[in-house]
């Protein structure tokens, strides 16, 4: 059943992405100030949003693991973080490409860029740490702690750097500005691409959760064989 849902979501994401790509490159005009490069926004911002949602979903799963002790929540949390990390990296890479063309530099220590990088560092450490621990409950406990501390830290980093450094373009979506900053046709494709990326992320999480569950089963069988 879970496999069918994952395939359904992946197919949905693929169809939506194809439609969005057609709209982006064949229908929508270039942006007046930025030219063709503005299209990177359709992948840059949705990747950041999906990544951030993922970290806080993983935080919920980590709290659920600590309160229930069920390894299922740990597997879910690890899967969500892994997928979120991929989207965070996509966010940073696409942002760097945009910055190189618009600002003339690959990187600047702006608060959003810095907090995105800190996020990647924390959760890359999380994945490295998971690989270093073999015992599942110990791994789950440490992972849950790191996820909780990491999410709190991301919020603190965001607020701290926000006070001082800000080169990043401000919000353009109607939901943040009340309208007038983005063409409605462009905004429509933005939301459709956000949906496509979100569907893709959920499909990837389902696949990774299944792999995690299989890995746990193999691990318990191996332990059983060693004990016998």
């Amino acid at each position: 059943m879970r496999e069918r849902i994952a395939i359904g979501l992946a197919v949905g994401a693929a169809v939506l992405l194809s439609y969005n790509l057609y709209q982006m490159f064949m229908v929508l005009p270039d942006e007046a100030m930025q030219g063709a490069i503005y299209r990177i926004l359709f992948f840059h911002a949705p990747s950041a949003i999906v990544g951030m949602i993922g970290y806080f979903v993983a935080l919920t799963f980590s709290v659920l693991y600590l309160s229930s002790g069920k390894l299922r929540w740990d597997s879910l949390s690890a899967s969500v973080i892994e997928v979120s990390l991929v989207f965070s990296v996509v966010n940073i890479v696409t942002g760097s490409i945009w910055a190189r063309i618009i600002w003339g530099i690959w990187w600047t220590w702006d608060y959003r860029l810095t907090s995105a990088l800190v996020c990647v560092l924390i959760f890359a450490g999380y994945l490295m740490m998971r690989r270093a621990i073999e015992e599942p409950t110990q791994r789950a406990r440490l992972s849950a702690a790191l996820c909780i501390f990491g999410c709190v830290d991301v919020v603190i980093v965001w607020k701290s750097i926000e006070w001082f450094r800000n080169n990043h373009p401000g919000p353009v979506l109607t939901i943040r500005t009340g309208g007038g900053t983005m063409d409605p046709a462009m905004e429509r494709i933005f939301y459709l691409n956000l949906l496509a990326i979100l569907l893709m992320a959920i499909a990837l999480v389902l696949v990774r959760t299944r792999q995690e569950a299989t890995a746990l089963q193999i691990d318990s069988l191996r332990r059983l064989a060693n004990a016998a």
């Binding site: 406990r141 440490l142 702690a145 501390f149 709190v152 830290d153 980093v157």
Partner: protein, 238 residues
């Protein structure tokens, strides 16, 4: 009747007293062996000496980044201290005994954090003196705000170090994993500490900017200490 004072076990003390007891024990061991102090102190001084060859120590630019140099050294020296904090309890199953004792997990964690805090403060104080000599920095001009910022930042580093030192104590790659985990978490605290220290080393420090970063240090300390206390029972298990 359960809960009556006379029925409570004699070992049961208040959390703060228990934490101070653990800290006293750790500091007494540290004073006798000087394991962490020697390692972290020697490391900090060596790095400060090496950095003096990287930069022109008399230039104004070097003074402007002095806070960064100093806090990087403290953060790295801190990892050496935190690695030892719980690892010294491993021989003779001392950690299991501590966890099975009447000590609350929260007081064990806070006690270890206090011991880390004191050890790191000693290393910081020694480094600051040497730093002042090597880099010609008059750090004593603003002693009170500098001391307050050092106390706040060091407590933040110590509590995070104690939590993850406890969680990684049984790991095969403990020495490698602890820095990988704690440094990204410490970024906001280190940013604030560096900014305040740079301000205090400058000719005319801005009070409002300093207070803003000081507020971040206080928020970090409160949030992470509260998290550590609330998760102590769940995270520290035999």
């Amino acid at each position: 009747m359960p809960g009556r004072l006379e029925d409570r076990p004699p070992l049961r003390m208040k959390t703060v007293q228990q934490a101070l007891c653990v800290a006293r024990k750790d500091l007494a061991i540290e004073l006798r062996t000087k394991e962490s102090l020697n390692a972290a102190g020697a490391f900090a001084i060596t790095i400060l000496l090496l950095l003096s060859f990287v930069f022109d120590v008399t230039s104004e630019e070097t003074r402007e980044i002095a806070g960064g140099l100093l806090w990087l050294v403290f953060a790295f020296a801190g990892a050496l201290v935190f690695n030892r904090g719980f690892a010294r309890e491993l021989p003779n199953e001392c950690l299991d005994v501590l966890l099975a004792s009447a000590l609350s997990r929260a007081s064990l964690l806070i006690g270890k954090a206090i011991a880390n805090f004191v050890t790191l403060l000693v290393v910081e104080f020694l480094s600051l003196i040497i730093f002042g000599i090597f880099y010609d920095i008059r750090w004593w001009l603003h002693t009170a705000p500098l001391a307050a910022s050092f106390l706040l930042a060091t407590w933040g580093i110590s509590i995070v170090g104690a939590v993850f030192g406890a969680l990684t104590v049984n790991l095969r790659l403990r020495e490698l994993m602890l820095p990988v985990i704690i440094y990204p978490l410490l970024i906001p605290l280190l940013i604030a500490a560096i900014e305040i220290t740079n301000l205090l080393f400058s000719a005319q420090p801005s009070l409002s900017e300093g207070l803003l970063w000081g507020r971040l240090l206080i928020v970090f300390d409160i949030v992470f200490t509260a998290l550590a206390l609330s998760l102590a029972d769940t995270l520290l298990v035999n």
